[in-house]
Amino acid sequence: MLHPTPILKETPSQTAGPYVHIGMTPNFAELRGVYDDPGATMLSEDTKGERIAIVGRVIDGAGAPVADAVIEIWQADAQGSFAGPAARHSNSAPSFTGWGRQAADGDGVFSFQTIKPGAVEGPDGRPQAPHVSLWIVARGINIGLQTRLYFADEAAANEGDYVLNKIMDKRRRQTLIARREEGPVPRYVLDIHLQGEKETVFFDF
């Protein structure tokens, strides 16, 4: 099949800068009364699936917290389906949005309340291991960093995962696998290392 070549160039990325919280999480930045922070809530009462928290820290190459980061996640629902476009002029929100956005706090810590996703089909036609897509921006990051979070208690699925298996250095696969901590709401913990020995694997998808 022919592939047409693009006729326009993508607009170049620029850093989100140190004040990205103003524009993307204004209430977190104490700018209240205009609108709610988009992506603050992913769940509704009707959301099906296991409630979990995803928590972590964003850390730079000197070991310092990245306090001015914004982290977005995008994931499938418990059945492995993504929230589709809403019908035109619909006022009803989906029971699970699949998309969340959180600011990193002064310690670089972020936290999402979500559900554990189901498996999504991979390019090879086999199910990918359950995962959450992450996108990270901050001062000093020239283009948004794409990575993924996988679940430590899905070892068998992780073993066969299309994307994880593309990471040639097996030790680096561990940078994407969140450990599970039990509690009233189980927590999956994953730190994002921008640089250094534990540097997270980032993707150009």
């Binding site: 326009l8 800068g17 609108y35 988009p38 619909s90 990918q128 000093g140 921008l194």
Partner: protein
């Protein structure tokens, strides 16, 4: 099946031309020193997870969400500064409009001061200016908002670096892999060519893409100047074949 596919909702995307974007580590912009990943990104085609993305059509925007002159007003007073309409079209690399997508923007006030607790620049805050807003593109991919022209400001990088007047933009598209953050500059500003952050973009033609054009035709008479800033997101590869692919 529907014959209309939203860009990025199905099919694959053109690979990102990473040489067109700033590299991760740009020594002239010192904040990248400890924040730039040292491994190169792992290039993979997008999977279903990256070809899908959040939609915002169901959210009702407030009437003032795209009016930075009034959306943070404490007492009905409008923001101080040179009044502007900033508008443009969100397109994909195939030059097709990207409708119904969320565009967010934030900026300093007319004096070059951000309303942020960590901001220490001595320029005065404007009590009636918050400096952020959002819009959803219409069926032809257009967004617009009212604001005041942001001031240039000094920042700690080199000894005496100044940011040119700029507005930060965040755009979604319809696939998570189209997600983009960038900055818009103003036509004719000599500060653009002295800025280390602008300078992270390797190609002069890439920088030109970040410069909004003064648009006399869309000026609001006796009120506001207009600047046009079009934004291009990654496009789908299978454009020419979509109806057949999807329809038969």
């Amino acid at each position: 099946m529907s014959a209309i596919i939203l860009p990025g909702a199905d099919g694959s995307l053109y690979q990102r031309d990473m040489a067109w974007h700033p590299p991760a580590h740009t020594p002239g912009y010192k904040s990248t020193t400890f924040r730039a990943p040292r491994h190169s990104m792992l290039s993979l085609g997008p999977t279903k997870s990256e070809l899908s993305g959040p939609t915002f059509g169901h959210e009702t925007l407030g009437a003032l969400d795209n009016d930075l002159i009034r959306n943070f007003s404490q007492d009905g007073t409008e923001a101080i500064g040179q009044r502007l309409v900033v508008y443009g079209q969100v397109l994909d690399e195939n030059a097709r409009a990207v409708p119904n997508t969320l565009v967010e923007f934030w900026q300093a006030n007319a004096g070059g001061r951000y309303r942020h607790k960590k901001e220490g620049y001595l320029a005065a805050l404007d009590p009636n200016f918050g400096g952020f807003g959002r819009a959803i593109t219409d069926e032809n991919g257009f967004y617009s908002f009212r604001t005041v022209k942001p001031g240039a400001y000094p920042w700690p990088n080199g000894g005496n670096d100044w940011r040119p007047a700029h507005i930060h933009f965040s755009v979604f598209g319809h696939a998570f892999a189209q997600r983009l953050i960038t900055q818009m500059y103003f036509e004719g500003d000599p500060m653009i060519w002295q800025c280390p952050i602008v300078g992270t973009v390797p190609d002069k033609a890439g920088i030109e893409q970040l410069i909004a054009r003064l648009d006399r035709h869309n000026t609001t008479p006796m009120d506001a100047l207009a600047y046009r800033f079009d934004i291009v997101l990654r496009g789908r590869r299978s454009t020419m074949f979509e109806n057949r692919l999807e329809g038969n």
